[in-house]
């Protein structure tokens, strides 16, 4: 019995009597039912809708794979995938690096560091809509603070949100500003979890500060880096509110991301079936991206 119990524990399952197990199921059942109702069922329904021509008002008709076949030839969708990828490529490396840098700066136990940490985290408490409205003022080429400051050093006004070359960049800068607190705090927690003995050992071995960072800090941050990169990739692929409020997807389609296209298809053009197919394509892309990240980080851990 003890052997069976310990084997079960090793497998991650504690032995339960039938009555206790039933009690557990009963307790879990409401939450599970709610999850199925508000999350599982809509996903299944959306999958079914993706095979129909549902327009929100009239009854849907089955169209087979027509919506999925259309995805590859729909230039608007293809361009929006490129825009989302562009956003991810721009924000993930820079945002991760800056968050880590901020975490390294604020981990010191200096006087007033608590207040600085609070200030860094404050943007995270502001909604995306409010953030975008604030930044639309900052980016304004006529009244905006950023162009005013640039003009003091002789830089010509930049049409941040309406120029093809800077529209996506303006969203990236704003997004990093808002998310830096969240990811910075995650890095900070991970940094504080690294045993001091590792640094002491590295020091004895003659490692300087950079070597300590390269061979102690970074390896120990591996799982956290993976988490931050994955979360930022997923968030980046789903970016919508910033583009909706700050640039309305423009200029032309310079910031029209996949989710923005899904929004237009579903709620402006009332093509729910096709929008569902677009959403599932995005879902597959995010899963693939996550698997790639996992593979990359697994390799990195192996090297270490």
């Amino acid at each position: 019995m003890a052997t069976a119990a310990s084997a079960a524990i090793r497998r991650g399952r504690a032995p339960l009597s039938g009555q206790i197990a039933r009690a557990g199921y009963v307790l879990v059942a409401p939450g599970f039912a709610l999850l199925v109702l508000v999350s599982g069922l809509p996903v299944v329904l959306a999958l079914l809708l993706s095979f129909t021509d549902y327009n929100l008002i009239q009854a849907p008709h089955w169209v087979g794979l027509a919506n999925y076949n259309r995805l590859a030839t729909d230039n608007t969708f293809v361009v929006s995938v490129e825009r989302s990828a562009e956003f991810v490529v721009m924000i993930v490396p820079s945002g991760t690096a800056i968050s880590l840098l901020v975490a390294l700066l604020i981990r010191n136990q200096l006087r007033g560091m608590g207040a600085i940490r609070t200030i860094v985290y404050i943007p995270q408490g502001i909604s995306w809509v409010a953030t975008a409205l604030i930044w639309s003022w900052l980016y304004n080429p006529i009244y905006g603070l950023i162009d005013h400051i640039l003009s003091l050093v002789g830089v010509a006004p930049v049409s941040w949100t309406t120029d093809f070359n800077t529209a996506m960049l303006s969203i990236v800068i704003m997004s990093i500003w808002r998310d830096i607190g969240f990811f910075g705090i995650i890095f900070l927690a991970a940094l504080q979890g690294i045993p001091r003995s590792l640094y002491e050992a590295a020091s004895i071995d003659g490692a300087n500060r950079f070597a300590s960072f390269r061979f102690v800090t970074l390896p120990m941050l591996g799982p956290t880096l993976f988490f931050v990169v994955v979360i930022w990739c997923i968030g980046g692929m789903q970016m919508f509110t910033q583009a909706f409020v700050l640039t309305n997807g423009g200029p032309v389609d310079a910031t029209q991301t996949v989710v923005y296209t899904i929004y237009l298809t579903a709620f402006q053009f009332l093509k729910m079936g096709y929008a569902s197919a677009q959403a599932f394509a995005l879902f597959v892309a995010i899963v693939a991206l996550t698997l790639v990240n996992r593979r990359l980080f697994r390799d990195q851990e192996y090297e270490l």
């Binding site: 949100t161 093809f164 309305n248 053009f269 009332l270």
Partner: protein, 471 residues
Amino acid sequence: MIQNYSDALTRRRFLVMGSTTLAVTLLAACSSGQAPATSAPAPTSASASNGGAAASKPTVAPTTAPASSTSASSSGPATIEFLNIGALQQTVTLFSDKLIPAFAKAQPSITVHMQTIDWGPSFQKISTAVASGTAPDVFVMGGIFTDPLASKGALLQIDDRVARWDGAKDIYPNVWSDSKYQGKTYAVPMNLEPQTIVYRKDFYQSAGLKPPETWDDLKAAATKLVKKNGSAVQVEGMDWNLTNNVSAQQSFINLLYQAGGDYFDASGKPSFSSDAGHKALDYMVSFYKDNLSSTAFVRAGTNAADFTAIGKSATGLVLNQDVASDKENAASVYANLGAALPLKMDAQSKPNGLIYINKLGIFAKTKVPDAAWTWLTYTMEPDVLGPWNETLLNFSSRKSVTDAASFVKDDPNLKVFDDAIQYTKPQSQHPAMFQIIQILNKAVLNALYLRASVDDTLKSMDSQVADAIKG
């Protein structure tokens, strides 16, 4: 230990806990998820007989609602859900304090609940409500709502009712087309937003120029009045009202109409790559090629300033609302603004411009169509429609109301906008119009940003719009 826990958590307790959880969940699910409506229920007989607090206030509403041959009062009490899209705070106050109480007094058997929503999500709100069968009985509709909703059976056809309604004759005749789908009427025009030329009087006078009437006039004035620092435009010669919405295509359609073109040919095929389309887009793009206008000037987000009003452009293409807003918010700026009739392509042509028409529609599956029509026609009464539109700084669809509105007749610029209405026509209607205007807007912007040639842009418009029509 486990045994003790098991004893404490008996089957009966589980059942009680489960039942309680289920009951709470069901109660939560059954509660109304709707936001509280701005409503003014019909006064009770006591308050009505006493005048009631609201009814005792001065009112601009008629004391009697319009007579209807099929009044709701003949078929018992009715409740109307009214969605007032785009209402401002002063609009809500007007309806809550005056208009709805006055209606309730005249039609005690009809209770009106009003909800408001911004224009942004309004189409989605109506579409989803139609899908769930919970659409408001009467709702305000935007410029291109008619075909997308009527083609899906969401709107009540009202030809017979309109034919019997006296007020129909007072509505500007050229705006009814926006309320029709396949020749049948599904909405009543409620207010109008004509778009025409405004210019800086001080700029034009100092350069000895007259307000532009033709395309050549405008180009010549823009060339003379543009201000640049190197190649960077500092003051535009002409502002084509670029926003982060769909206004680029609206400006293009203005020019397309002036050149004698339209969205579709007689067979219903897209006809943007027509001679008129080429003339219109060539003309518009030439301002950006010649640095008379700049894509850096975009009215986006909170940067919603009318560039002409603030002196960043010599001339602009704007709506009456912009001018009314300039007048209300910046009187000193307003003194420098002049308005002109819509442009003519050349001296031989007629002026032509675009007009946006908001309307009132009735949900096809309303349970109270007669009461809904009674409420709709009440809101179209001059003493109701006028004050309502004045809160929005909009022109009423009834000519007598707009002509009499003091904020219009006492203002020379808004008077020009009023005169411009006769030269305007609305955007074409089509069930896929929401998609079509997005396609056109992107294509026009691509051309204005000089990322595509005029020829390629127009061909692309035709093919993409044809695809959108196919579904």
